[in-house]
C-alpha cells in the first residue's frame, strides 16, 4: 500500500524538473520533496506550469521557530509521470520573510499566498490582491494600492474607516455604493453559509464582483495539532458536514503515509463504500439546493426524499448519519455483516431505479433549463489557469480526478471495480448539473459492487498502527464531492503532529467566483454560487487569528507577532 518511491523517479526529478534543487528526499507513494532556495520558486513555478503543464495543489507555510519559516509549494505531476507529486520546500528568514510572488505566474496561487501573508507575515512581492483573507477588510492597517485596475488608493483616515476599506476593490464611493452595490451576505436566505459577495449592478446586470470569506473559522488545524493522531480523526471529520467521509479518508491516508502500512483489502472496500455513499448523498443534496435556489421547492423536497434512503443505509452501516466515526489509522472500526450488506444492496438498487425515473425529468424541466443554460461560463483556459477542481473543472472538459490520478487508501483499482470519470464540454451551470447527476449513477454502481464483495467474503478490517518518525512529512489527496482535497502533515515529537495543513476544494473554486459572475444577471448570482457547490465550512477551516478580548485593535505587526507566538507554543 504505502510503497516506497522508485529511485529512478527521484533521478528524473533531479535531472529534468528541478536541477537547482539543494536536497532531494523521496517520501512514500511517489512523492518527492525538494529543498530549494526561496528566489528560485517563481522560476520553477513558471517552468512547471508552462513547460510541463502541471497543476499547483497548494502553498502553505510552517513555523520552524529558530530556523525561520518553511514555505511549502506542492505541484501535481500525475499526468506526466504516474502519481508523481513534487513538494518544494524553501526556507525564509524569520525576521524578514520575503520572496517573489508566484500568483503573477498562475492565478492558482492567489488565495494560498494571501493565507501565507495572513498567518506568517510572509511578504510576497508583487502579489495581485494584497487584502486580508480571513480578517475583516477594515482591520487597522495601511493598504498599498495595487497596480491592477479596480483598486483605488485607500484614504488614510486614522486607522481605516470601514467604508473606505470595504469599497476598495470595486472603485465606488459610499454615495454611489448605496445605489449600485448589492451585498449578498453575510446573512442571505439564498446562500447556506456565511460569505460576503458584493456585486456592482447596473439595472440587472452585474459589472463587477468581489468575494470575502472568513466567517466560519473554527481552528481545526490547531485542534488536530494538539490532540494527536488518534483523536484528530474526529476533528478532521467535522471540518465539513456534507463531505465528512472525504475528510476522514484523506486524513487517515496522510497519517498512514507517515509510516509503513499494509491496509487489509476488506478495509479498503469498506472505505470506498463509505466515501461513495457520501458522494451520492452530497450530489442529491446539491440538486435539491439548486432547485431551491431557482425557486422550485418541490424539486428540493423530492430529491431530499431520495436522499433520506441513502442516509438510512449509512446509519445502519456506520451508526451515525453525518459524522461516520469509523475511520481508524490502519483500517476501519466496524465491519459490514452479510445480512446488512445484502439488505443495503437491495435498497441501493431500488434507489437507483427511482433516481433513474425522477432525475432525468427534473433536469430536463424547461423552466429549470432556462435558468441554468449559458449561465456562469468558465472556459477551459480559465479553468486551467484559475485552478478549478472537481465537477467544476470536469464540466469544462478538463479530465482530472484524484481517484484515477492519485488514489487515496481505498479501493479504486479499475481492475477490481469498474467506474469511469465523467466530463462534459458545456462549460456552464447546466454542464455542471449533468456532470453531478451522471457521477451520482457511477457512484451508485461502485457502491453496489462493494456491497456485493463485502457480502461474499470475510476478513480482518484493522491493523495495529506503528510509530511515526519525528520530522517526516506526508501528503494525502482524496476526491471529495466538490473536488480535490489535500492534507499535508509533518510529524513532530511526542507523537503529535508539528503541522497540519488542509486545503479543501471549495478554497479553489470560490476564488474563481468573481470571474464567473461578470456579465451575468442579478438573478443568476445565487445560481452560479450554487453551481460551484460552495462548502464554506470547508473553506474557512484554518486557524482563527483573533484579537483577545482585552485589546480591541492590534496593529498589523502586533498581529503577526501574536500569530508567531501562538504557533510556536506546544
Amino acid at each position: 500500500m504505502t510503497k516506497q518511491t522508485d529511485p529512478s523517479l527521484v533521478e528524473w526529478v533531479k535531472r529534468e524538473a528541478v536541477p537547482e534543487g539543494l536536497e532531494f528526499k523521496a517520501l512514500r507513494e511517489n512523492r518527492v520533496s525538494v529543498r530549494v532556495r526561496a528566489e528560485d520558486v517563481e522560476k520553477l513555478t513558471e517552468r512547471f506550469v508552462k513547460k510541463f503543464g502541471a497543476r499547483m495543489i497548494h502553498a502553505t507555510g510552517v513555523d520552524m521557530e529558530q530556523s525561520g519559516f518553511d514555505v511549502v509549494y506542492i505541484f501535481d505531476f500525475s499526468k506526466i509521470k504516474e502519481r508523481l507529486v513534487i513538494i518544494l520546500n524553501a526556507n525564509l528568514d524569520r525576521e524578514q520573510p520575503k520572496m517573489p510572488s508566484v500568483a503573477k505566474v498562475t492565478w492558482q496561487a492567489c488565495w494560498a499566498e494571501k493565507e501565507l501573508k495572513e498567518f506568517l507575515g510572509v511578504d510576497t512581492a508583487g502579489m495581485p490582491d494584497p487584502r486580508h483573507q480571513f480578517l475583516p477588510f477594515e482591520w487597522p492597517n495601511d493598504v498599498e494600492s495595487g497596480s491592477k485596475e479596480g483598486f483605488v488608493k485607500a484614504a488614510k483616515n486614522g486607522g481605516g474607516s470601514p467604508s473606505s476599506e470595504y469599497l476598495l476593490p470595486l472603485g465606488v464611493t459610499p454615495q454611489q455604493a448605496s445605489a449600485t452595490l448589492i451585498p449578498i451576505g453575510p446573512y442571505h436566505p439564498g446562500v447556506i453559509e456565511g460569505q460576503l459577495v458584493r456585486v456592482k449592478v447596473e439595472g440587472e446586470q452585474v459589472v463587477d464582483a468581489d468575494i470575502k470569506t472568513g466567517f466560519h473559522h473554527r481552528g481545526i488545524n490547531r485542534l488536530i495539532e494538539r490532540r494527536g493522531y488518534n483523536k484528530g480523526v474526529f476533528a478532521a471529520e467535522r471540518v465539513c458536514g456534507i463531505c465528512s467521509a472525504a475528510h476522514g479518508l484523506a486524513y487517515v491516508t496522510t497519517v498512514e503515509n507517515l509510516y509503513d502500512a499494509e491496509i487489509p483489502e476488506r478495509a479498503l472496500y469498506i472505505r470506498t463504500l463509505l466515501v461513495e455513499l457520501n458522494r451520492v448523498h452530497s450530489h442529491l443534496l446539491w440538486i435539491g439546493v439548486v432547485a431551491d435556489v431557482v425557486g422550485w421547492k418541490t424539486g428540493f423536497m423530492l430529491t431530499w426524499g431520495l436522499r433520506e434512503r441513502v442516509m438510512d443505509i449509512i446509519e445502519a452501516i456506520t451508526g451515525n448519519r453525518v459524522n461516520y466515526g469509523v475511520w481508524r489509522l490502519g483500517g476501519v472500526s466496524r465491519d459490514v455483516p452479510k445480512e446488512l450488506a445484502e439488505k443495503a444492496n437491495r435498497t441501493v438498487l431500488g434507489l437507483k431505479e427511482e433516481a433513474a425515473k425522477l432525475l432525468p425529468d427534473v433536469v430536463a424541466h424547461p423552466v429549470l433549463k432556462s435558468r441554468l443554460v449559458d449561465v456562469g461560463p468558465l472556459s477551459y483556459p480559465d479553468a486551467f489557469d484559475g485552478g478549478a477542481v472537481g465537477p467544476v473543472a470536469r464540466a469544462s472538459n478538463w479530465k482530472i480526478d484524484v481517484r484515477a490520478d492519485n488514489p487515496p487508501h481505498a479501493m479504486y483499482d479499475p481492475k477490481k471495480i469498474s467506474w469511469e470519470v465523467i466530463t462534459e464540454d458545456g462549460c456552464d451551470t447546466y454542464a455542471r448539473t449533468l456532470v453531478r447527476v451522471r457521477e451520482l449513477f457511477v457512484s451508485m454502481g461502485i457502491v453496489s459492487q462493494c456491497l456485493e464483495y463485502l457480502a461474499k467474503t470475510t476478513g480482518e478490517i484493522r491493523i495495529k498502527q506503528r510509530e511515526v518518525e519525528p520530522g517526516s512529512e506526508a501528503l494525502g489527496l482524496n476526491e471529495a464531492p466538490r473536488g480535490e482535497l489535500q492534507y499535508y502533515i509533518r510529524a513532530g515529537v511526542a507523537n503529535l503532529p508539528q503541522c497540519v495543513r488542509i486545503r479543501t476544494p471549495s478554497y479553489r473554486n470560490n476564488a474563481l467566483l468573481p470571474h464567473m459572475l461578470l456579465g451575468s444577471a442579478l438573478a443568476d448570482v445565487p445560481v452560479i454560487m450554487g453551481s460551484l457547490d460552495q462548502c464554506l465550512a470547508c473553506t474557512d477551516r484554518v486557524e482563527v487569528v483573533d484579537a483577545k478580548g482585552q485589546t480591541k485593535a492590534m496593529s498589523w505587526d502586533q498581529l503577526v507577532e501574536y500569530g508567531k507566538r501562538v504557533k510556536g507554543v506546544r
Binding site: 474526529f234 438510512d312 445502519a316 466515526g325 472500526s333 425529468d361 430536463a364
Partner: protein
C-alpha cells in the same frame, strides 16, 4: 404544460399516499415513532456500574474531552458530559472490562446545564489507606489488576510479585513509596537478583 410537467406530476402521484415524514414526536403509534432507528446507532454511552473498575482508560482516550474523573472524599465519579461527547465510541473500544455500551437513545435536549440528564455518572467507592487514611484506588480496581497481571506474568517471577503484592496491600501510593526498599521487586534489588 409540457411533457416534463406531466411526467413529474405522474411521479409525484405515484407515491402520493405514503408521505416520507413521520409522526414524531407524537406517540400515537409508539412503534412508528422510533421505527427508523437501526440497530447499530451510536447514541448516548452507558456505563455498567458493576463492571466499571475506575481505571480511567476512557478518560485518557476521550476525543472530545467529555469524560472527567472527580475524586471527592472516598468516592470516585466517572462522569461523561454529554454536551461535549462526540459519540465516537473510543471509550467503548478501550474499556478493558467492556463496561461501556453505546445505547440507542438520541434525545439529548435539556433545559439547563445542571440537569442530571446531561451527565452520565458512575459513582465508585474508593479504598482508604491503612496508614494515613487517604482514599487512593477504587475498590474493584486492585483485585482486577491483580487478576489480569497473574494471568499474563512470566512464571519465573510470579512468586516474588505475588508476595510483594501482599506486602503493599491496603497502602496508598505515598505510603508504599516510603517503605519501598523492603519490596523484593524494587529496581535495585531486581537488577541484583537477575544478574546485570
Amino acid at each position: 404544460m409540457s411533457s416534463s410537467h406531466i411526467k413529474i406530476l405522474k411521479r409525484i402521484l405515484e407515491k402520493y399516499s405514503t408521505p416520507m415524514t413521520l409522526k414524531y414526536p407524537s406517540s400515537v403509534d409508539a412503534s412508528k415513532k422510533y421505527s427508523q432507528i437501526p440497530e447499530g446507532l451510536r447514541g448516548i454511552p452507558e456505563r455498567d456500574k458493576e463492571k466499571c473498575i475506575g481505571c480511567r482508560a476512557c478518560f485518557f482516550v476521550c476525543s472530545g474531552r467529555a469524560t472527567k474523573i472527580i475524586d471527592i472524599a472516598d468516592k470516585r465519579t466517572v462522569q461523561i458530559f454529554l454536551f461535549r461527547c462526540t459519540f465516537c465510541a473510543h471509550c467503548q473500544e478501550s474499556c478493558p472490562e467492556e463496561a461501556i455500551t453505546m445505547s440507542k437513545k438520541f434525545e439529548l435536549t435539556v433545559s439547563t446545564r445542571s440537569d442530571p440528564a446531561a451527565y452520565v455518572d458512575t459513582v465508585l467507592d474508593m479504598l482508604s489507606c491503612k496508614k494515613c487514611g487517604k482514599p487512593y484506588f477504587p475498590k474493584k480496581f486492585v483485585p482486577r489488576v491483580y487478576e489480569r497481571l497473574m494471568e499474563k506474568i512470566n512464571p519465573r517471577v510470579k512468586e516474588t510479585v505475588s508476595a510483594d503484592f501482599k506486602k503493599v496491600e491496603g497502602l496508598c501510593t505515598e505510603c508504599r513509596r516510603a517503605n519501598s526498599f523492603e519490596l523484593d521487586t524494587h529496581t535495585r534489588k531486581h537488577l541484583w537478583l537477575e544478574g546485570a
